[in-house]
């Protein structure tokens, strides 16, 4: 009986080794799988941090474009856009913690745009102030390299049209409808001033002209005022600052109805 037990123990010692080897193998393989899963997770986090970084960078470039257009539309030099974007690019290069970051830009130059800006204030019934630039972002990080091309377009547009009705003698009641757009979507105006042409010069419309501005809250404004002029065709000019401080001007011709 004792002999059998000893034999059994001797045999089971070999089995124990196999079981131990199996356990170690399972341990090693599960550790390997775990490490692999972790590395996958780390990659997805890198992608997330890069996408967050790109989101923030696009926001900053857009703000720089708005600032530049506000400056240019208020009489600033056209090279302000390039100067501001250069400055922003330098800041990104100096402090980015994802790796080496290079932000290159090309302000649009074509039949409309000059050095990335376009001010169209002489077309009848419409005024446009716009800035456009193409960007190339290159990030060389520890985890990954990213190259991204994108464009930023900042455009403020106003449309204006109207008519007048004769009150008595040369006195006329002018009714205008003005729409403000940012990037083609209805937007609000911060400040509006109006002028009419009298005796060959632009005369400002003020409270003495019974100026009334109705804000519909959706980018549409109804304006009415009275003028005293002998001309049967009335030229009116609208000069508007949108909420981003971008200046836009548009002229329209009003006829009697």
């Amino acid at each position: 009986m004792k002999k059998r037990q000893r034999k059994f123990r001797a045999k089971s010692s070999g089995q124990l080794l196999i079981v131990a080897a199996l356990a170690i193998a399972i341990l090693i393989s599960s550790t390997t799988i775990y490490v692999y899963e972790l590395s996958k997770e780390a990659n997805s986090e890198d992608v997330s941090s890069i996408s967050n970084f790109v989101l923030a960078l696009k926001q900053s470039t857009r703000n720089a474009m708005i600032s530049s257009l506000a400056n240019v539309s208020n009489g600033g030099e056209k090279n302000v856009l390039a100067a501001n974007l250069n400055r922003l690019s330098q800041v990104f290069r100096s402090i980015n913690n994802l790796g080496f970051c290079q932000l290159a830009f090309t302000p649009l130059s074509d039949s409309n745009y000059d050095s990335g800006t376009w001010l169209s204030w002489n077309i009848s019934d419409m005024g446009v102030s716009s800035a456009y630039a193409n960007f190339t972002l290159e990030v060389y990080g520890m985890a990954m390299n990213v190259t991204l091309n994108y464009a930023v377009n900042v455009t403020s547009t106003i449309t204006i049209n109207g008519y007048y009705t004769r009150l008595s003698g040369d006195e006329k009641l002018v009714n205008l409808t003005c729409n403000v757009y940012n990037e083609g979507k209805p937007a609000l105006a911060k400040n509006m001033t109006f002028f009419y042409e009298g005796l060959g010069s632009w005369v400002p419309v003020d409270p003495s002209n019974d100026l009334s501005i109705m804000d519909y809250g959706n980018g549409t404004y109804h304006i009415s005022f009275t003028v005293s002029t002998s001309s049967n065709v009335l030229q009116v000019s609208a000069r508007i600052y949108d909420v981003r401080d971008i200046f836009i001007q548009a002229n329209t011709t009003c006829y009697e109805t």
Binding site: A56, S67, R87, F92, I95, N97
Partner: protein, 140 residues
């Protein structure tokens, strides 16, 4: 010989048991560290998205341009989820501190502190660039 074998088996068993216990310790501690890192990264993501949201209409730059630190603190308190402590510092592009008042909603009791660096370009006619350092922690 048989008694020697028996001893060797005991040693192997003991070794295996020790190995299993230590490896379980190693794996579990690694897991908890990873979870902490993940929570911190989530917090950083929330912080960055908050700053982007405030900056989307130019409010962030306006508060800084005007030096309206109280409004900036209030805006952050509103946009950030409840239960998150923050401390924000604004630098100019020369890395000189701009904010003259503390922009924070309380002390940091948590060990998990997330850090967010954000570049804010103001929309004002005079272009300014600010570097924002935002520290976030879960309130305890």
């Amino acid at each position: 010989m048989k008694s020697q074998n028996r001893g060797q088996i005991r040693i192997i068993e003991a070794f295996l048991a020790a190995l299993i216990i230590f490896s379980s310790f190693a794996v579990s501690s690694n897991l908890s560290v990873r979870q902490n890192v993940k929570k911190s990264e989530d917090l950083a993501s929330i912080g960055l998205q908050t700053l982007v949201k405030l900056d989307s209409d130019g409010s962030l730059g306006k508060y800084i341009d005007c030096g309206n630190w109280t409004a900036l603190r209030d805006a952050l308190s509103i946009v950030l989820p409840a239960g998150i402590c923050f401390n924000l510092t604004v630098y100019n592009d020369q890395m000189h501190q701009v904010n003259t008042a503390v922009i924070s909603n309380g002390g940091f009791g948590s060990q998990q502190i997330a850090f967010v660096q954000y570049i804010c370009a103001s929309q004002s006619m005079v272009f300014r660039c600010y570097i924002i350092h935002l520290h976030l922690a879960v309130a305890t």
